[in-house]
């Protein structure tokens, strides 16, 4: 039997038995490419996702909230770092992935192309955006690719804290002034539909889902996860005292789930293709940081090279 055939068989068995594929194992090219793309897009999302909330760190209205937000944005940088490391185990290079991001050749979650207009957005991002991210990511703790699955366990634990701090901020604001309650409702109105879009296109329009499920790098379909998120969020909204902006949202006792209104898929397509409210700013910010830091990275490389020479002399 050829090595290739052995590799293919071992890979198939690993997937079949629900075990983990590790970086040095044989894997199909398509699996490797798909994993690199999935992990890189996730890493990019963490890095771009630092911006909308990062913009409020310096303006946070109490020192406690400032510390929480700073720690949260730091966590996101950390998530990006170990996701890029997971991608590197597959032969990708962080510098190359960063170039793909800032040249617009690789995507990140479209949710971060919406602006953060008030401090309530910080809370709603934690509650809805991190909440949706958790629904997407908890099943990825069982991804067939080992390094990604292990990274996701840690990330999910931290995301769970993030969601709670957001919800706690909103709970506190709802007990504040009328203006604050209005801020929370407004932020909820603006982020609800984009959060539902985070689960991707409907199953009827998601061509890669079949292969990804077969490879066990995706465990549930987009629509299943979206439904789960809606069912989880409705009671939280009630406890908070806000209205979710969907007149068609109601409990369906036959299905034992909530029905909800039609998502504006043309908006998702628009934002993904680059025409969201903040796409250009998000990428420009990252590109500027990359360009401004180029001389620093060159200096670090030059210094390291000199040190190596000295050591070898």
């Amino acid at each position: 039997m050829t090595d290739l055939a052995t590799g293919e068989r071992t890979f198939a068995e690993t997937i079949e038995k629900d075990q983990r594929v590790e970086p040095r194992d044989w894997m199909p090219d398509g699996y490797r490419k798909t994993m690199i793309r999935q992990i890189a897009q996730h890493a990019h999302s963490e890095i771009i996702g630092m911006q909308p909330e990062g913009a409020w760190i310096t303006r946070a209205p109490t020192l406690r909230r400032k510390a929480i937000l700073l720690a949260k944005v730091q966590d996101e940088a950390g998530h990006g770092l170990y996701l890029y490391s997971a991608a590197e185990t597959l032969g990708a290079d962080r510098g190359d992935l960063t170039r793909r991001l800032i040249e617009g050749r690789q995507k990140y979650s479209s949710i971060f192309n919406y602006p953060t207009l008030s401090f309530a957005d910080v809370g709603v991002i934690g509650w809805l955006v991190d909440g949706a991210a958790i629904c997407n990511q908890v099943p990825l703790c069982r991804s067939s690719f080992g390094p990604y699955a292990r990274a996701m366990i840690r990330i999910c634990k931290e995301e769970s804290f993030h969601q709670r701090q957001g919800y706690e901020l909103l709970m506190t604001m709802m007990k504040g002034t009328e203006a604050q309650r209005a801020m929370v409702q407004d932020a909820t109105n603006r982020w609800w539909w984009p959060s539902l879009m985070m689960f991707g296109p409907p199953d009827t329009d998601s061509p890669n889902t079949g292969q990804s499920m077969a490879w066990k790098i995706k465990r549930h379909t987009n629509d299943e996860l979206r439904q789960r998120f809606v069912d989880m969020t409705v009671p939280q909204a009630e406890a908070l005292g806000v209205t979710l902006p969907d007149p068609d949202l109601r409990w369906n006792s036959e299905r034992g789930r909530h029905d909800f209104g039609e998502i504006d898929w043309s908006e998702l397509k628009r934002v993904i293709s680059g025409d969201g409210p903040m796409n250009a700013e998000r990428i420009a910010h990252r590109r500027r940081a990359d360009e401004d830091g180029a001389w620093v990275r060159e200096a670090a490389a030059a210094h390291a090279a000199k040190r190596t020479e000295t050591t070898h002399e």
């Binding site: 303006r59 209205p61 109490t62 020192l63 700073l70 804290f161 709670r164 940081a289 200096a299 210094h303």
Partner: protein, 291 residues
């Protein structure tokens, strides 16, 4: 592994231990007696806590401005981490200032409702950074000075200041290490980085004099074993700086006689007004808000 249970955990409201910033965190002052020591002038102690607290708060603000635009992800983590440490020190010190005053002002009242002339930070903390070289040069000076200070403060007769000093030493040791490593890399890197970090050191050094001026509040409290006289830290500071600067192949230019800043007396540059404009904007817009 049934990690799917994490879904359930999110809707469980009775599990306070899972909160990141709620009940789960250890109080850094747990077990430390907070009574003001006998014979200590409360106004002096409050002023001194504001000085050290404002240094940390304002320096932290400048670091926060770098969090999404540093040269590498590792540096974004580092500046966030250092900013968080200093913010933590600021919160403890401002809280202590409020206690010493006995006026009921808490950390937020002091951070958000004072005007620039009421801030007591040194001018070094408020200076804006032209580039990453300026940030690390300024951080090196700040951390080298503050580490020497906190190290002495750990022996303060005020148990709270002593605890803050002891905790801060561990943190600021890392801050100094991080900044020193970058100053060396940049100084010994490329001709461009060498020139930039030399320019940064040159720009920051005129602000050094103020760090070692002993304010009358400091002199009085030092006499009672509560505060540290900054002048006593100069030799240690100079020795550390000389070592780092030599390793970085940089030069410390003979300082032209510059009048030391008087941030300790509330005399600041326009930079502080800009910082406070940003920091206090929301808190002042909704003064009766619940956050």
């Amino acid at each position: 592994m049934s990690f799917d249970d994490a879904y359930g955990a999110l809707t469980d409201h009775d599990d306070d231990a899972r909160w990141a910033y709620g009940t789960g965190f250890a109080d850094p002052l747990a077990g430390v007696p907070t009574a003001i020591p006998d014979g200590v002038d409360r106004a002096d102690l409050a002023a001194y806590c504001l000085m050290l607290g404002d240094d940390a708060l304002i320096m932290s603000h400048r670091l926060q401005q770098w969090v999404t635009r540093a040269p590498e992800l590792e540096d974004e983590l580092a500046v966030a981490n250092i900013g968080l440490d200093l913010l933590g020190q600021a919160r403890l010190l401002l809280t202590r200032a409020g206690e010493a005053e006995g006026s009921g002002r808490d950390e937020d009242t002091l951070a958000y409702l004072r005007d620039p002339h009421e801030f007591r930070n040194v001018l070094l903390a408020e200076r804006s950074d032209d580039d990453f070289a300026h940030l690390v040069a300024r951080l090196l000076v700040f951390a080298t000075w503050r580490l020497a200070l906190l190290d002495r403060l750990a022996a303060s007769g005020d148990p709270v200041l002593a605890a803050i000093g002891a905790k801060g030493v561990k943190e600021v040791t890392y801050h100094r290490e991080y900044a020193a490593q970058w100053v060396v890399r940049l100084g010994d890197g490329t001709p461009v980085s060498h020139e930039r970090v030399q320019a940064a050191v040159d720009a920051v050094y005129p602000l050094v004099g103020e760090l070692f001026e002993t304010h009358e509040v400091e002199r009085r409290l030092a006499g009672r074993g509560i505060a540290v006289e900054p002048a006593s830290l100069r030799a240690e500071f100079d020795a550390v700086m000389a070592e780092v600067v030599a390793a970085a192949t940089l030069r410390l230019r003979a300082a032209t006689a510059v009048e030391p800043g008087r941030g300790r007396d509330g005399m600041h540059t326009a930079a502080l007004g800009e910082i406070l404009g940003e920091m206090q904007e929301l808190a002042r817009a909704i003064p009766d808000g619940a956050w």
